[in-house]
Amino acid sequence: MENKFERIIENLEEEETLTLGDQTFFNEMILDESIQCSILGTLTFFEVDFKRVDFTGSTFVNCEFKNCRFKDVILRKCEFWNLTFENCQIERSNLTRANFHKGTFRNCIFIKANLTASNFSEFEFIKTKFNNSDLDLIGARSIKVWKLNQCTEIEESSNFGYLLENMSCDG
């Protein structure tokens, strides 16, 4: 197996920002990388495990994450546009002040993740759970939260974390 993503990072020039698009990564392990302020567009990650990867300040546009695992990943101050997370596990990761615009978390689970002061707009949460996660000061605009087959729409909230905690349980 080749770790295509890691190889791309290794081939970057010193101080070069990672700018990447139109690619698919399958069955890879991305470990111990610092790729801050990256620009990632139209990428599909399928069964990719991220561990101790620092994406601080990165921008993700039109990306799909399916069956991925994030562990000790830093997504602080990242911008996400048109994102889909499906069957993903996000564990012990830092998503503080991350901004999510248009996208979906489907069948995802957050474990001990920190989403403090993050923002969601035009986003959907489907069967997504938050276990022991920090959900303080989450801002939300035009959100849909699905629990079983019931949908709750939230037009605007500055304390969305409280709603998430209550609505995502046992979903």
Partner: protein, 386 residues
């Protein structure tokens, strides 16, 4: 007669020793103390009950002590004897391991690891198979540790949002048999941690500092910012390391200082007040909080042949930034050492990455429109719009 006496003495002392050893785990220091006590006892005993004197008494006492403590050991058992100095680090061969010992099979506790033990699949190191039946590419063993080799695709893609429950997804079953056997499993890859060459170095920050200073001079600002201060502000307060995002924030904050709008720019004292900087307004001395926002040019992706037709427009990104900022102004109000009102939070917008300069006024307008729509238009400063 002497033989019986010697046997009895040796038996008594060894009984006492074994009792002592079973009560207290041995260390080198205890061994030495025990040996010394025994030696003194024998030295006195020999002095009272024999004619031996001087060095002969000393050496014979020493020899008796030695024989009493270690005499009965054969060479194979000696390695496992806790009394013997230097035997502590010895790992017995697998053939001589006590299988009831929890250290067995646990490298973290000094035991040898086997894949054939109880609860361990003999095929743990074989390539994993996907649930669908096809064989997935084999991940290197050193990296399998994070999910125990389970690479099966858990999604059933049956349509309903509730069909794929996470706990049933084999990829999320973090307790694989292999991991359960070895509590240190996750650390194995960590031990082999490569050096991350992409960490921002001090040299890089100094280079940015020099560029920043010359840029400020070109703009006609009189700046008195030391290299040390730039380095300090460019350190991520959460990680204590330099990073690109912190450097970007610092450049914006210090430009505001160079413009003579604020002074004493620093990171907030309370880390929960998650805004980039705190400073004092020049003139009024009012404390304000500053957050520096930048925007990337999606054109940098199309330069690399990446299709950006489905991307949001720069204007919609700017509009969202404007809306989010109003929300952010209110987030930390009332926190210890945080802003008291929205008026104390200033947002800096930086469009220097936007290559088409004619776009910039439109982006500025988009930010203002969003702020107006969100109901709060104060505390907006645009950098690099000239």
């Amino acid at each position: 007669m002497f033989g019986c006496y010697y046997t009895f003495l040796r038996w008594s002392i060894r009984t006492v020793l074994v009792g002592f050893l079973s009560t207290f785990p041995m260390s080198k220091r205890k061994n030495t103390v025990l040996f010394s006590i025994l030696f003194i006892f024998i030295f006195v005993y020999v002095g009272k009950n024999s004619d031996l004197r001087g060095t002969r008494r000393f050496f014979i006492s020493l020899k008796i002590t030695w024989i009493l403590m270690f005499g009965g050991l054969d060479s194979a058992n000696a390695k496992d004897n806790p009394i013997l100095p230097g035997a502590h680090g010895f790992k017995p061969p697998i053939s001589r391991l006590n299988r009831n010992n929890p250290r067995f099979n646990n490298p973290a506790l000094g035991g040898a690891r086997q894949n054939t033990g109880k609860g361990v699949s003999p095929g743990a190191n074989k390539p994993p198979r996907a649930l669908s039946g096809f064989r997935t590419p084999h991940k290197p063993v050193k990296k399998q540790g994070f999910y125990g080799g389970a690479t099966g695709f858990g999604g059933s893609s049956s349509g309903s949002p509730g069909d794929d429950s996470n706990p049933n997804n084999p990829r999320f079953n973090t307790k694989s048999s292999d991991q359960c056997q070895n509590p240190n499993y996750f650390n194995q890859a960590q031990k082999k941690k490569k050096k991350n060459s992409r960490q921002v170095s001090k040299k890089r920050v100094i280079e940015v500092y020099q560029d920043f200073m010359s840029k400020m001079k070109k703009k006609g600002y009189e700046v008195n910012i030391s290299e040390d201060r730039f380095l300090e502000l460019s350190t991520n307060p959460q990680t204590g390391k330099f990073d690109e995002k912190s450097i970007f924030e610092t450049e914006g904050g210090l430009e505001l200082e160079a413009k003579g709008m604020v002074k004493n720019l620093r990171r907030p004292d309370n880390p929960k007040v998650d805004l980039d900087f705190v400073a004092e307004r020049v003139g009024s001395g009012e404390t304000i909080f500053i957050d520096h926002k930048g925007m990337i040019d999606f054109g940098s992706l199309s330069d690399k042949g990446i299709d950006i037709s489905g991307f949001p427009s720069h204007e919609s990104v700017a509009f969202n930034m404007g809306k989010d900022s109003v929300d952010q102004k209110g987030k930390f109000i009332g926190m210890d050492q945080g802003p008291a009102s929205m008026g104390e939070v200033v947002h800096l917008y930086n469009f220097e990455n936007i290559r088409n300069r004619t776009e910039i006024p439109l982006l500025m307008q988009a930010v203002l429109n969003a702020a107006e729509q969100a109901g709060y238009m104060d505390g907006i400063i645009f950098l690099n719009y000239g």
